[in-house]
Every structure is written in structure tokens, then in C-alpha cells.
């Protein structure tokens, strides 16, 4: 790909310091580049620091060692160029669906009529028409995550950071949401960094897959993934199954290591 990488991560270390107990090296010498409009999956066992890496890119945690730059500028704080979607939705429970989606637009000082129109467009996009005035507590998990995705897409960040966004959903809903996410991404390509521990999900969604090692998290391999992201039936193809196998072999030993390190497994 020609031109500058959109996200550059160089030699990043991160130490997690729990309130009680010893500090833990969560990330060790992580380097990675993400191209504009690329869909990259960060894949690894639980506790490998993949979410931590995402939060560092988001500017939510201080960068202790190394460098992270977005479009050539060092990351120092969160900003609306990087939208985030969390596993547990992080919707404002006191705001309706509409008010949640409007929030980012209000912060961007968008004129009222424009933001109302834009919010409605994204409510329609994620199929939540008729639920505009519902509170998150009245919605199913899938609907909550649709709202969260609409909220993030609405303020039009260049980069979408997704932290196991479908991890809290049931299997059917997860499959539907994956297809929908691909549809949205095919229509309005954004740079996506998608954290997951699900190999199939990574192969189905991402163009490149960065496999991380168990704690301390390192980038173990970066795999190109050429399966067709416009074809929902691709999951039954030989190509897909082989790709899943290839990556599962890389992940398996890390998963075993991670399991062995769990204090009370």
C-alpha cells in the first residue's frame, strides 16, 4: 500500500500495576503498523494484553515506553479521530438510543438539524428504527451493541477501535453482527482494529491478523488473510477452513501457556 501508515506502533511496553500485588509486564516490545482503511484483527488468548494495546492506541492509558502515532501525530489523549466500541457496550444508561447517538455529535458542535438527521440515518443503518426513545436497559444485547456501533460511526472517526465487541452476545446474534459489520465496512471503509480471541471471527472479518503471544504480550506473527470479505458464505470454503487451521495452530500453544499461567484455573 502506498503512503503513510495510519497507525504506527513502535517498541511499546506496558506494565500493569494492580492496586495490590506485583506489577505485571502486559506488553513487551510491540511494534505494528496499520494501513488506512485496513481491517486488522488483534488475536490472542485472554490476558495477552490485546485490549491494553487497543486502549493505548485510543489514548486512554499513558504510553510508558515506545511510541504510538496516528496519522503521524503522537497519541497523548483520546480524540474523536479514534472511535471505540467496548464488549459491554458502554452506553450511557440514562440516555435513550437517540440521545446516546447524538452525544458525540453534540460534542462536535454539529448544528441541531444536521445532527438530528445524521443520528436518524445511523439509527436506520443499524436497524433500530422504532427504538429511538428506548433506554439501554430495555434493549437486548445485540440491540445495545448496534446502538454503540451507531454512536461511534455517527461522529465519523477515521479509526474504529473494537474491543471484543461481539464477545458478550449469543452465537446467532454474533454471526449476524459480524456480517453487518462487514457490510458497513464495505460501504464506508474505515481503519478498523478489532480485538478478539475468536479465530473464526478474525478470519471472517480481517484482512490482516496480528497473533499475540501469552503474557507478556508480543506480536508473534502477522498473517495476510485473502478470504473474500464480501461473501457471507465464505466460511464454508476450503480456503477459509485452511486459514482458520493455520492461525489456530499459532494460537493454540499461546492459549495453553495462558491457561497454565492463570492463578486459579
Amino acid at each position: 500500500m502506498v503512503g503513510q501508515s495510519q497507525i504506527v506502533i513502535e517498541g511499546v511496553n506496558h506494565t500493569y500495576r494492580p492496586p495490590r500485588g506485583r506489577p505485571v509486564l502486559a506488553l513487551s516490545d510491540v511494534s505494528l503498523q496499520v494501513q488506512p482503511r485496513e481491517f486488522l484483527a488483534l488475536l490472542g488468548p485472554s490476558g495477552c494484553g490485546k485490549s491494553t494495546l487497543l486502549y493505548l492506541v485510543g489514548g486512554f492509558l499513558p504510553i510508558e515506553a515506545g511510541r504510538i502515532a496516528v496519522k503521524g501525530k503522537a497519541v497523548t489523549a483520546p480524540g474523536p479521530d479514534r472511535g471505540i466500541v467496548f464488549q459491554h457496550f458502554a452506553l450511557f444508561p440514562w440516555k435513550t438510543v437517540r440521545a446516546n447517538i447524538l452525544y458525540g455529535l453534540e460534542r462536535q458542535r454539529m448544528p441541531r438539524t444536521e445532527r438530528e438527521r445524521r443520528a436518524q440515518a445511523f439509527i436506520d443503518l443499524v436497524g433500530l428504527s422504532g427504538f429511538e426513545d428506548s433506554y439501554p436497559s430495555q434493549l437486548s444485547g445485540g440491540m445495545k451493541q448496534r446502538t454503540a456501533i451507531a454512536r461511534t460511526l455517527a461522529f465519523d472517526p477515521d479509526i474504529l477501535l473494537m474491543d471484543e465487541p461481539f464477545g458478550a452476545l449469543d452465537a446467532q446474534t454474533r454471526a449476524l453482527m459480524q456480517t453487518e459489520l462487514l457490510n458497513i465496512w464495505n460501504r464506508t471503509p474505515k481503519t478498523v482494529v478489532f480485538v478478539t480471541h475468536d479465530v473464526q471471527e478474525a478470519v471472517y472479518l480481517a484482512q490482516r491478523i496480528a497473533v499475540m503471544s501469552a503474557r507478556p504480550g508480543r506480536i508473534k506473527a502477522v498473517i495476510e488473510n485473502k478470504v473474500d470479505h464480501r461473501d457471507p458464505s465464505v466460511t464454508r470454503s476450503k480456503e477459509f477452513v485452511e486459514k482458520v487451521d493455520e492461525i489456530w495452530n499459532l494460537v493454540r500453544e499461546e492459549a495453553i501457556k495462558a491457561e497454565a499461567k492463570k492463578p486459579d484455573a
Binding site: 485510543g58 472511535g83 467496548f86 458502554a90 452525544y103 436497559s137 461522529f155
Partner: protein, 250 residues
């Protein structure tokens, strides 16, 4: 209509209590000097309203109570939220809150009088100090429990720190903050009447003490029941307000 009926049934035991009160006094089962019949208390209440004493003293008490409570809500709520977000303040103020929490606030009555005299100011200060503690603790615990993913979401959507305080921390703290305020509301009545009983020339407490000292026990009971009813009504109205504010929960 059904709701009214159900509420009526709920408070039926109070009616039985009132009837029992009237019965035992009419049948001379108790000393009527210590417990006058409820009907005579009712007559005394009407006289106190007509004479204006009850209204005048109620005005004085409600003024002190509401000013003290409002100061406690804004001061204590603000302090609790800031403590939750600002470590240095937390380190300095938290031990003070811990020390002050179990202190019987009525012990401060003579001190506030010494500082501010016998008038409104000393009562307002007492209520402010006493009611601030539950509000501060509620705001602090509520804000500490706020989900960092919500804070991060707001920050990534362009909210600065002040906006985040208002848009995320305050609403996250609201359920516990409102419970703290409910405790403070009840405490305000307690502190109000006890301080007025001890040192005052106005207010519910003063009126109860004065009527008791002059032997008008029917009147004394009438004022005490009025305070009890006002406390009850304030709490019920406050609970409705709370339900309305927290309607987004389930």
C-alpha cells in the same frame, strides 16, 4: 382510583392506632395529662393554626431546614464528586469525613450557637454540617463506582474533563447520591427540631418546648404530630422524585 384505595389500605394500621389512642384515653386507661385524647389534640391543632403560632414557627423552621439542606446537597455533593476524581483532595478530606461520620451531630449544637448565636445562622450551619456527610459519602461512592468505559467513551467523543464530570460522573453517581440525600433529609428534621428545642425563640422545636413547659400538652402533641407528618410527607415526595429521576433504570 385503585392506587388511592391501595395506598389507603396500606396506612390502615395508622387509623387503628388513632382509634386505640382515642379509646384508651376516653376510657381513662391512661393518665390523660400525659396522653390527652387525640380529638383534643386535633382541636388544639386547629387553634394553633387559627392563632398563627404554628404557621409562623413552621415558616422559621422550614426556612432553616431547607437552606441548610440545600447547602449540604450542593456542598456535600460537589465535595464527594471531586474527592472521587481528585486523589490529593481525597487523601486530605477522607480522614475528616471518617472522623466526622460517627460523631453525634447534636453535640455540635452548643458549638454552632457559640459561633453564630441563637438565630437562624447557627441552625443552618448545624444542618449543613450534619447533612453534608451522607451526601458526600453517597456522591463519593457513586462516582468511584462509575464505569471507566463510559468515561473513556465520552472522552473519545470529545468531552473535556469538566463536561465528563457533568455528563458521566454525576449521572453515574446519581443513584447513591440520591440515597445519601434521602438520609440527609431525615437528618435535617432531627437536627432542626433538637437544636430548636435546646436554644431558640422560634420554630417547631421551640414551640414544642414552650407548650410543654406551659402545660399545654394537647398543643405540644399537635406540633409533634405536625413535624412527624411533615417528615413523612417530605420523604414520600422525595421518593417519587427519585423514581422519576432514575426512570432509566429498568
Amino acid at each position: 382510583m385503585q392506587a388511592v384505595l391501595r395506598a389507603g389500605l396500606r396506612y390502615l394500621p395508622l387509623l387503628f392506632l388513632a382509634l386505640a389512642w382515642e379509646a384508651v384515653t376516653r376510657l381513662n386507661l391512661v393518665d390523660t395529662a400525659a396522653l390527652p385524647p387525640l380529638s383534643k389534640v386535633a382541636v388544639a391543632w386547629i387553634d394553633l393554626i387559627r392563632g398563627g403560632e404554628l404557621i409562623d414557627n413552621a415558616k422559621a423552621s422550614l426556612y432553616r431546614g431547607s437552606v441548610g439542606l440545600l447547602l449540604a446537597i450542593f456542598g456535600g455533593g460537589g465535595l464527594g464528586l471531586l474527592m472521587a476524581r481528585w486523589r490529593l483532595l481525597d487523601i486530605f478530606v477522607n480522614p475528616l469525613v471518617e472522623l466526622f461520620y460517627p460523631l453525634p451531630k447534636s453535640a455540635l449544637i452548643p458549638i454552632t450557637v457559640l459561633w453564630l448565636g441563637f438565630g437562624d445562622a447557627s441552625k443552618i450551619l448545624l444542618i449543613f454540617l450534619g447533612c453534608m456527610i451522607p451526601v458526600t459519602i453517597g456522591a463519593y461512592n457513586g462516582a468511584r463506582g462509575s464505569d471507566h468505559a463510559l468515561v473513556w467513551s465520552a472522552r473519545s467523543m470529545g468531552a473535556n474533563r469538566l463536561r465528563m464530570m457533568w455528563d458521566v460522573i454525576l449521572p453515574s453517581a446519581l443513584p447513591e447520591l440520591l440515597n445519601g440525600i434521602r438520609t440527609a433529609l431525615a437528618l435535617a428534621f432531627i437536627l432542626l427540631v433538637s437544636s430548636e428545642l435546646i436554644v431558640s425563640q422560634q420554630g417547631f422545636g421551640y414551640l414544642i418546648g414552650y407548650l410543654g413547659a406551659t402545660g399545654s400538652y394537647e398543643g405540644m402533641y399537635a406540633v409533634a404530630l405536625t413535624v412527624a407528618f411533615l417528615g413523612f410527607a417530605a420523604d414520600r415526595i422525595y421518593q417519587l422524585f427519585m423514581q422519576w429521576l432514575l426512570a432509566w433504570r429498568e
